[in-house]
């Protein structure tokens, strides 16, 4: 019991200390500049009560989920294929590396003028943000497989399926999961970017609308939610990565 308190006390102290600081700073500055925690929470409750917030959250969540799931569903098999087929990997890895390093936000104006404001272009933005970390890291994983492993498997006349199950997947999946963790963070950025720059919707749209009407409390309320969402998703990504990292040799 005491050990528990000792372990968590600094975090609790830090959390409440920071929140108190926010409250004090907010009370002592212009409300157009900084809104105290209490006012932010009041605004948050208002947003929940009108049912507005749930709706916006669901809109954002469906955008995130569509783009992210598409990135996983396309990125993982493609990554594994690239892992297995060496020629394909060597042909494409440079381009995947370039796209991995390209700031995808720069493509948003093109997507806008080609595809307009609908749900599909926005999901495409999330997808583009998320897919390259998955591909890039999967290829890194494939590179990490020692050629001897495949040679041994071959010399034991391992079948293709067994080779995948015993060598390819176990050795590349931990890397892929690092990619998935990065993809979660990037997809979240993509989601907000799509909601900012394509058509205003969801939580990003809430921030935009609030800032345009100088509703600083609304801006903080929406940022608070997105921040908490970001922390939760990052945690989930880290857990996923660590779960598979045990496999890594």
């Amino acid at each position: 019991m005491f050990a528990h308190i000792k372990r968590y006390a600094p975090f609790v102290l830090s959390l409440f200390g920071g929140l108190a600081l926010w409250e004090i700073a907010g009370r002592n500055s212009s409300p157009a500049f900084l809104v105290p925690l209490s006012a932010t929470l009041v605004r948050l409750v208002q947003l929940v009560e009108t049912g507005h917030l749930v709706e916006l959250f669901l809109s954002s969540a469906s955008l995130f989920a569509t783009g992210f799931v598409a990135a996983v569903v396309i990125g993982m098999p493609l990554g594994l294929l690239l892992a297995r087929v060496r020629l394909l990997r060597e042909a494409l890895d440079l381009y995947i590396m370039i796209l991995y390093a390209t700031p995808m936000v720069a493509l948003i104006p093109f997507i806008l003028s080609l595809m307009g404001f609908g749900f599909v272009p926005k999901a495409l933005v999330v997808f583009l943000f998320a897919v390259f970390p998955i591909l890039y890291n999967t290829i890194e994983g494939a590179r990490s497989i020692k050629p001897e492993l495949i040679e041994v498997a071959r010399s034991y006349r391992s079948r293709e399926w067994a080779l995948w199950r015993e060598v390819m997947v176990p050795y590349t999946l931990p890397y892929t999961m690092t990619g998935v963790r990065q993809a979660i963070a990037r997809a979240l950025v993509g989601m907000v970017a799509a909601e900012f720059f394509l058509s205003s919707s969801g939580l990003g749209g809430l921030i935009m609308g609030a800032s345009q009407s100088f509703d600083t409390a609304g801006v903080f309320a929406a940022m608070l939610i997105i921040g908490v969402l970001g922390v939760a998703l990052t945690r989930a990504g880290l857990m996923l990565e660590n779960h598979f990292a045990r496999w890594r040799g």
Binding site: P10, F11, S14, L15, G17, G18, A32, F33, L87, E90, A91, L92, D93, L94, Y95, I98, L99, A101, T102, P103, V105, A106, L107, I108, P109, F110, S113, L114, N137, E140, R143, S144, Y175, T178, Q182, A185, L188, V189, V192, A193, F196, F197, I207, M208, A210, S211, Q212, F214, T216, V219, F220, A222, M223, I226, G227, G230, V231, L233, T234, A245
Partner: protein, 267 residues
Amino acid sequence: MSLAASVSSPQRASIFAGKFVPRLVAGIAILGLWEYVVREFAPDFVAKPSSIAEVLPGVISGGPFLESTSITLAATAEGLVVALLLGMVLGVLMGRSLIADRALRLWINGFNAMPMIVVLPLMSLWFGYTTYARFATIVFAAIFAVIINAAEGARSVPKDYIEVATSYRSGRFRMMFEVVLPASMPYLLAGLRLATGRALIGAVVAEFFTAIPGLGYFILYNSRTFHQNEAFVAVILLAGFGVGCDMLISWGTRQYLPWYRRDEKSE
């Protein structure tokens, strides 16, 4: 973690060597497919490789492009320097002091997990649609990666180093600059690498949002006025800049810290 193994291995060194033919074929295939799809199915203004190549010389020798590029790169560098200095101070403090670490870690990790672009509307509320908003966005985008890596680096300094320095009665200041910082160099470089990418994104996004001059605005303006090919030249430059920074930092790590297997933190 993912990049650790291969960066220092000789495989990466051959990036322009052995795999040349498959890469060339793939590159031509990608460009060809892009060209074909746009020609067949898309309206005239859509960017395609042949048209981009056509406008490329004019764009890169033109005033607006050069001006936008220098504005954005200068702003990115400026924000990055501030993020680096501030971030290193905070990070080293966290790495060397348990109290500072306990007090700040929660918040640093929290802000780092936040998609950085959500601060844009707030920055535009605070600073208006000005270059200050861009500067603040860049610093915010870059600083947490620096702090986390600097803290990690400062924490990982071997105890022996500190003990030897202490027994030679090294002062705090010298300890910091001659022991802690050099020993955490690899982490700082990893942080710098992440921070550079993020700073660049921050700059572009801030220019989209506030419509202040720069590469982001160059892209936005040209693509809105049906000059997609011109706009795409700027995208190529941004991609090249991203890749170039990555390669420069990888090269630096290999050159000056060849024993180090780089660890990627906090993306």
